[in-house]
Subunit: 407 residues, 2 copies
């Protein structure tokens, strides 16, 4: 395994094989950087010294300009950065630039300015669990589910970077046999998701072929699609979730490039019935990515892990989601976010939301401080983690996607 001359601590999410992109501020305004070990490499400075191609796109306040360049440019820049971090010590030192900052000493910002945000519903276990709870009197899996990746548009303006406080939303809810009331949600939940961020995009009216998805998907982030279940339950028919979701969506600060994830791609799950031709792909589009949800009350210094599962089992893949989302010719563009939908496995300890973990509040979770949770309380902190590891390959991770609930 090639190593970087920059120290990468054992177990770091950010070895040389990762090089995820983010936006940081060390006091000089927002700049693009990549994470390496505990450090961030300042790409503004590196571009200023003329050490990377496409410097103009890298000297910006978000990734959107770089995303717009497309796959061959992404590959070029990644190749050059890998080179610099492998044998470029002298080159960077000779440039006399202040290139590295401790991650702990910078502020991380939203890495991209979101265009459209789509949220899918691609875990069959999650869809069945929610169907059972929201529509107890009918088949939990609706007839369309196995034929297309069901999804909807979410709100872009409230996509926030990990660490942003989550205001407990108010809204309209209704208890059975009582008139509706307005007030703070009493069923604040999380959704453990993974999303992909897109690049250059297509022309209006021209669908993207599933096999060309790799030209459009730049990389992936962890996503917490915070949900107010009581608001959602009352509002969602017939047009889908709206205010139960639109108050906040947290994303991890580092976008892990698809190129870094390539060694961890695995076959997707078998699909029955076979999807229509526009949803068929050649090659592996499953991602062997381990996921974990941590929850800490104000009284706890370390979160309890309340769920562990794998992204590899998601029924619909990213390539299928992108092909489906554009089959009608819609325009995708740099900074669009396409989230997977809650990732749940087959067993209770693998569910990606509290509504599933507590089965609608029936079976509270026991926390290590002695308290119980049906849904989130003020002061609770949720931390999502995700990483890939495989025999003979370095572990690469997404860092954390964290949020604390405030009243």
């Amino acid at each position: 395994m090639t190593a970087s001359w920059v120290e990468v601590p054992e177990g770091s999410d950010f070895p040389l094989a990762n090089l995820p992109y983010g936006v940081f501020d060390s006091g000089k305004g927002r700049r693009i950087g990549i994470a390496i070990g505990d450090h961030v490499l300042d790409l503004y400075a590196v571009a200023d010294a003329g050490l990377v191609p496409h410097g103009a796109a890298l000297q910006d306040v978000d990734l959107n300009g770089f995303l717009a360049l497309g796959r061959s440019s992404w590959h070029e820049v990644r190749g050059r950065l890998t080179e610099l971090l492998t044998d470029g010590r002298t080159e960077i030192q000779d440039a006399g630039i202040d290139a590295f900052h401790h991650q702990a000493e910078v502020t991380l910002h939203l890495p991209f300015t979101p265009g459209d945000y789509v949220d899918f519903y691609s875990s069959i276990e999650h869809a069945i669990n929610l169907g059972r709870m929201f529509r107890p009197d009918s088949d939990p899996l609706l007839p369309n589910w196995r034929h297309l990746p069901v999804g909807y548009h979410g709100r872009s303006s409230t996509i926030v970077v990990s660490g942003t406080e989550i205001h407990r939303p108010r809204g309209q809810t209704k208890q059975e046999d009582e008139p509706p009331t307005e007030g703070p949600t009493r069923a604040l939940d999380i959704e453990l998701e993974v999303g992909f961020v897109t690049g250059p995009g297509n022309e209006l009216g021209v669908p993207i072929d599933a096999d060309d998805a790799g030209d459009h998907i730049f990389g992936m982030v962890l996503v917490n699609d915070w949900s107010a279940r009581d608001i959602q339950r009352w509002e969602y028919v017939p047009l889908g979730p709206f205010l139960g979701k639109s108050f906040a969506t947290s994303v991890s600060p580092w976008v892990v490039p698809l190129e870094a994830l390539a060694p961890y791609m695995v076959p997707g799950p078998s699909q029955d019935p076979e999807p229509l031709p526009y949803l068929r792909t050649v090659g592996d589009w499953g991602v062997d990515l381990q996921l974990e949800v941590g929850l800490a009350s104000v009284a706890m210094s370390e979160p309890d892990v309340i769920s562990r599962n794998s992204f590899a089992g998601m029924y619909w893949t990213m390539a299928q989601q992108l092909a489906h989302a554009t089959v009608n010719g819609t325009r995708i563009g740099p900074g669009d976010l396409y989230a997977s939908g809650t990732v749940s496995g087959p067993d209770p300890g693998t569910y990606g939301s509290l509504i599933e973990l507590t089965w609608g509040g029936r079976d509270p979770i026991q926390l290590s401080d002695g308290s119980q949770r049906r849904y989130l309380e003020d002061g609770d902190t949720v931390a999502l983690r995700g990483w890939c590891e495989r025999e003979g390959l370095p572990r690469i991770g997404f860092g954390e996607c964290v949020g604390t609930v405030v009243p």
Copy 2:
């Protein structure tokens, strides 16, 4: 009635009392302008000559910077422009600027860069009609409908200006007792809507009070929310419309300021039950706006008017929609579009979509070229119009919102 020294033809949508904002290109790139009679006044040029306040925000390629300034600035600029067009002939001439262009000689662009796009469902007649067709076995009006303005997020990237061609979308559909197939929609429809465009916005986590809506709503546009009914019908449970809508949404090129509409505001319809306190407003939030849908086949030189109705009867008002959309603290911002949902009246000739006008294709419409329509055919042109008129007041209009279907 005060008149402008710029000629305004009889029956024009754009008298001095209107002054809607748009973005045009006369060969020098995109500039902000206002419509007066058959002309557009170039605000870049006017600002260059120092004749209006807030010139920097007006010298931009879209309205977003101006929208961000807020109500008192909007009022100031409108006052000054009214003055210039009333007694400012010499002032403009002395400035030696090329201030006016014929609307017919410029290209009109999307006036604002869309942030988030929300589509409501606020006509009770439309909700009942669609409920009857999509859910024939249950109460057409769902239990939440009279308690809150039901809505969902639409796609921002495919909001296009009037005149943009509409590509017939492909997608997945399913006929009863047959497996799903993929192909061009066979049920391409329109939705006659009116939308409002927002200004500065709020802080994340801070709802907007219904009575403060006037500080946030800059103005209104006509909206055609093109819909593929066969795609929509198969995909929309349980997360709402997605690809059946996301291929195109046309808006009129001129944003009519709320200040111009003020004389035409009327009481909204009575609401039963009384809405919750956060949805109550003081003052009139209905808009006495006449609407019309024209449809022309390739063979026709003039469209047939296939529907006529009034916006005044919409059950939920703009102020209520905005208060509801932000009750959970979501962030609104300059260029967000909030559309009304299809405007339908109580009688067949007043329905705002083909699915209602033909009752799901059962009763085709007869066109004056002898052909019939269930849904749109390739080559069909749809033109929406809207205007306000009232005894003793000038007629003000929105211009047209037009689109032609291409294969």
